[in-house]
């Protein structure tokens, strides 16, 4: 057997039982590597459950800075017998299986192409601790200590981290360090340390931070000046409002009165949540809601109202695997079409696609400017992978010289200077009209907001030509919007290329890595990351000048590709799909494989077309 050997380049997966406190120990492991200057990307793969079911934590370490999922696992750290059979099968040949050998391993699970390392974790805990809860918690810390020896991690970094983590609860520091030492010592005494896979301190992290997208987004809402948050709890979006709450308690308390400069309302459902956001925004406050797919479905009717009545609305959708309840704790990018065209009638909504915590923060704050400037819903589509996992990110920054763009709003003096106010009168030619807040002026500027058809003075009308004029203005506004939303990010290949990849959101890291792999094989691909809908002309030009564009996305139905074809009328032969929808983040190896299959000479029919062809009795 040839054991895997590598330095600072591997994937390790922890197999735990949920509700046993493993998350903080695993986090400690990942953070320690990060502090050793190594790019890491930890991913929680957890069940929709509170206690007792299998849960995994996958950490990729990559000195080259590849932060997407690579695919495959080199080391499994297994403390969950429930999933052991599945876990051991998953290891790459030459990899390592580290497990709690207090109970002997089922011989049927043995593989002769991997290295098996047994740590008597339960036995050590039972000998050392009396309290059952301590036995459970410290078991996790002990295996982190053992890994430190097996992988040659800097032990001091670990102990410093423990001290940081328990700041304020000092009496917990020493017992945790003791547990780390127990594991460390056991591994040193019983194994040849380090194993073939190891780490070495490096300097590839720079000023980067490790942060989850939802926290960044909650902070973005604080910086963007949100004062009203209305929401209904739903995984994986809940921590957005939690973060908003946490920071608001810190920075939004009026120093004189102790009262709160914000209001958070936990609504009875998502319909009410979005209704509250619309009511608050209509009344001149910056407001937002955070939700996931099922919530987005419920919010559809109100989104149509906000589109038609032109009320700023900010909605953060942290996507999860659908349809219906789907897989609530697994990731996907499958709300693209539902969000883009949410609600009955002719509607289109602005979408933002962040791909890092920094962008969650930036786009989160920017959403409020966009919503007020454009007077329409702004839907930010992030996902569970970005929202709930710690992601390595550029540090957060705020330009203190920048001012909020509160959009076109008239005050009392403006109204006095006007002859006649029309809420839906396009006086500037950009199809964006002027709002007034309730209570502005005793005689002027009041109007009736409604979801029914109205004329430029906001008076109800059923005249077809008035209705049509308004709908065409909204379409013209759609063009104005293209000037405001973030444009795409284009990265050319090292040599001229007639093929390209197009991706968005959390597919970025794996896509970049796959493009590097393919370049090494001599296949040059230009890259474009789409950051918003509507797409601007740069998106169109980019697709136009390539013969073939691989659209990479994490859903079954190629939703972004559908959107591109609907908006630009590109043919299906030009846009080829690269898809992943099993609920895990798309991996670089998967992308490379699918692109290879599409290349000339590799005549493989994509899965979904094969199915369709079979159904109608054609030959695939």
């Amino acid at each position: 057997m040839k054991a895997l050997k590598s330095v600072n380049d591997f994937v390790i997966k922890f197999a735990n039982v949920n509700g046993t406190g493993s998350a903080s120990a695993n986090n400690l492991f990942a953070k320690a590597l990060f502090r050793m200057g190594l790019p890491v990307s930890p991913k929680n793969i957890f069940p929709s459950n509170i206690q007792g079911l299998p849960t995994w934590y996958e950490v990729r370490v990559s000195e080259k800075g590849y932060l997407g999922r690579r695919g495959g696992v080199d080391i499994i750290l297994s403390v969950n017998p429930q999933s052991m059979a599945q876990d051991i099968r998953e290891i790459e040949p030459g990899g390592y299986f580290i497990y709690d050998n207090t109970k002997p391993l089922d011989l049927r699970l043995l593989r002769d192409d991997i290295t098996i390392i047994g740590l008597p974790l339960t036995r050590i805990c039972n000998e050392k601790y009396k309290d059952p809860r301590q036995r459970q918690l410290f078991k996790n810390v002990i295996y982190v200590g053992a890994l430190a020896a097996l992988l040659d991690m800097d032990f001091k970094v670990l102990t410093d981290l423990v001290a940081d983590q328990f700041k304020g609860k000092e009496k917990l520091i020493l017992p945790n360090i003791n547990a780390l030492e127990l594991g460390h010592q056991y591994a040193k005494d019983n194994f040849d340390c380090p194993i073939g896979i190891r780490v070495k301190a490096s300097d590839k992290v720079g000023d980067k931070i490790l942060l989850d997208g939802n926290t960044a987004l909650g902070l973005g809402a604080i910086y963007g000046g949100a004062t009203v948050a209305a929401w209904y709890p739903i995984t994986p979006s809940t921590s957005v409002v939690d973060a908003f709450d946490k920071y608001a308690r810190r920075v939004r308390i009026d120093p004189g009165t102790g009262r709160r400069n914000y209001a958070i309302v936990q609504a009875e459902d998502e319909l009410a949540a979005i209704g509250m956001v619309i009511g608050a925004s209509w009344n001149g406050a910056r407001a937002f809601t955070a939700t996931s797919g099922p919530g987005l479905s419920l919010m559809s009717e109100f989104l149509g109202l906000a589109y038609f009545a032109e009320i700023p609305t900010v909605l953060f959708d942290v996507q999860r695997a659908g349809p219906s309840t789907g897989m609530p704790t697994r990731t996907q990018q499958s709300d693209v079409l539902a969000a883009a065209y949410a609600s009955h009638g002719d509607t289109k909504h602005v979408l933002l696609f962040p791909s890092t915590p920094k962008e969650c923060f930036d786009f989160g704050a920017m959403s409020f400017d966009l919503a007020e400037r454009l007077q329409t819903p702004i839907i930010m589509l992030t996902d569970l992978d970005l929202g709930m996992n710690d992601n390595m990110s550029d540090p957060l920054e705020w330009d203190d010289s920048k001012e909020y763009d509160r959009g076109k709003v008239l005050n009392a003096a403006d109204l006095d200077a006007m002859e006649r106010y029309g809420r839906y009168l396009d006086s500037d030619g950009d199809a964006i009209c002027y709002r007034t807040y309730p209570g502005t002026h005793p005689d002027k500027g009041a109007y009736f907001t409604r979801g029914s058809s109205r004329d430029e003075q906001a008076v109800y009308t059923e005249k077809g030509e008035e209705y049509e004029k308004n709908m065409l203005r909204l379409l013209q506004k759609w063009d104005t919007i293209k000037e405001y939303v973030p444009g795409p990010e284009i990265i050319p290949a090292a040599k001229p290329a007639d093929m390209a990849v197009l991706y968005f959101g959390t597919s970025e890291a794996s896509s970049r890595e796959a493009v590097d792999y393919l370049a090494a094989d001599g296949i040059a691909l230009d890259s474009m990351r789409v950051r918003a809908f509507p797409f601007n002309h740069e998106v169109e030009d980019f697709i136009d000048r390539h013969e073939r564009v691989f659209v990479i996305e994490q859903n079954r139905d190629a939703q972004l590709r559908t959107l591109l074809m609907a908006e630009f009328e590109f043919g299906p032969d030009k846009l080829k799909s690269v898809l992943c929808f099993d609920g895990t983040p798309i991996s670089a190896r998967n992308i490379r494989k699918q692109i290879m299959e599409h290349l000339p000479g590799n005549n493989v029919t994509p899965l979904h077309r094969k199915i369709r062809a079979n159904r109608v009795g054609e030959r695939a």
Binding site: T227, A272, A273, N283, A285, L396, G439, G451
Partner: protein, 350 residues
């Protein structure tokens, strides 16, 4: 349409403390059916707001969908209005009220909009004790879709089509009491003398104030077999007692009548006087109010007037401890912590 608003105004029309005549509180011409109860309620709202000397632009009027929800066009033309989606007005008002606590929020809804599609939001806006007036124009049927029974139609009642309603009626006042409402009243569109002071009291209440106003539908539900017809309601209404409302600053003597059982000082300093029949109910006791509603229901009569008032009501802003200044008036400097804090946050994430 029920009436034309004449352009001519009598030169000696009374003005209120702000110098406004009633005309300043009117809206566009109603497009409802002639004789619709809703138009009388609109008239009562105009009168109440005028007499209370509320600045018209300091009121926001919001509604859902249906005949009732169309009425905000027909009163308070100088106020911002919002005709939202069916059954969802309470959430829109909640957001609006969070943004600016200084306006008076007037929600207008119907029985379909409240007791069916909007039942959830109705229950929860009460539970939060949002500071608003919630008027239900209750006619027991769906007018705009031609007369189907609504959830407040009484069992055994029949509208124009003649089909007898087989289902239990949802009683909005009882529901509101159950959900913790801090002001509950019922009235009749045909009784402005009762309705106007109730509206004034509701507007002075800090917290959620429901007025369930029975408002006959002349087109679909004003039949001999209907329990929401003008005739039936006139014959079967039993008032809790009369109510006088004395606005803040006004000399108490001016409208004083002897024999008031209670005087309640409202949040804004105005005084509510109740002249009531002590046997009917104690309007400051939720259990008594519930009992009175149930007793009248058992007798087949309709209890009207002020049914319940919580004198110690704490509204949602009190509970959430929001700033005394409206949130929509806070400046960027107060809202955005600036880059310095991010430097610290970044440091904690390394």
């Amino acid at each position: 349409m029920s009436y034309q608003i004449p352009k001519f105004r009598h030169p000696d029309l009374p003005v209120n403390e702000l110098g406004y005549t009633k005309a300043a509180y009117e809206g566009s011409i109603s497009t409802l059916c002639a004789g619709c109860g809703h138009d009388s309620i609109s008239g009562a709202l105009v009168r109440a707001c005028h007499e209370l000397s509320i600045e018209p632009h300091k009121i926001a009027k919001l509604s859902g969908i249906g005949c009732s929800s169309k009425t905000p066009t027909y009163f308070l033309g100088k106020s911002h209005g919002f005709n939202s989606v069916h059954g969802r007005m309470p959430s829109v008002v909640t957001g609006a009220a969070m943004a600016n606590r200084e306006l008076l929020y007037l929600g207008v809804s119907g029985d379909g909009d409240t007791a069916s599609i909007g039942m959830g939001q109705f229950a929860h806006v009460i539970r939060r004790n949002l500071n608003m007036v919630y008027i239900v124009m209750n006619n027991g049927c769906y007018g705009l879709t031609k007369g189907q029974d609504s959830a407040t139609a009484d069992e055994g009642s029949a509208g124009k089509k003649g089909d007898v309603n087989p289902f239990n009626a949802i009683d909005l006042c009882s529901t509101a009491l159950q959900m913790g409402a801090t002001f509950v009243a019922r009235s009749f569109s045909g009784d402005k003398e009762q309705l106007v002071p109730l509206i004034k009291a509701a507007m002075s209440h800090r917290g959620f104030a429901l007025i369930d106003v029975i408002s006959p539908c002349v087109t679909f539900n004003n039949t001999a077999a209907s329990t929401k017809s003008y005739e039936f309601v006139r014959d079967h209404a039993e008032a809790t007692g009369t109510v006088d409302f004395v606005p803040m600053r006004q000399e108490i003597t001016t409208s004083s009548r002897p024999g008031a059982a209670h005087e309640v000082t409202m949040h804004d300093g105005s005084v509510l006087r109740l002249y009531e029949d002590a046997d009917t109910l104690n309007p400051f006791d939720r259990r008594s109010a519930m009992m009175a509603l149930m007793d009248h229901q058992a007798e087949g009569t309709i209890l009207t007037g002020l049914i319940y008032l919580d004198k110690n009501s704490r509204d949602l802003h009190d509970v959430l401890e929001t700033s005394h200044r409206p949130l929509n008036q806070l400046e960027e400097g107060e809202l955005c912590p600036g880059n310095k804090m991010l430097v610290n946050i970044n440091a904690s994430l390394r």
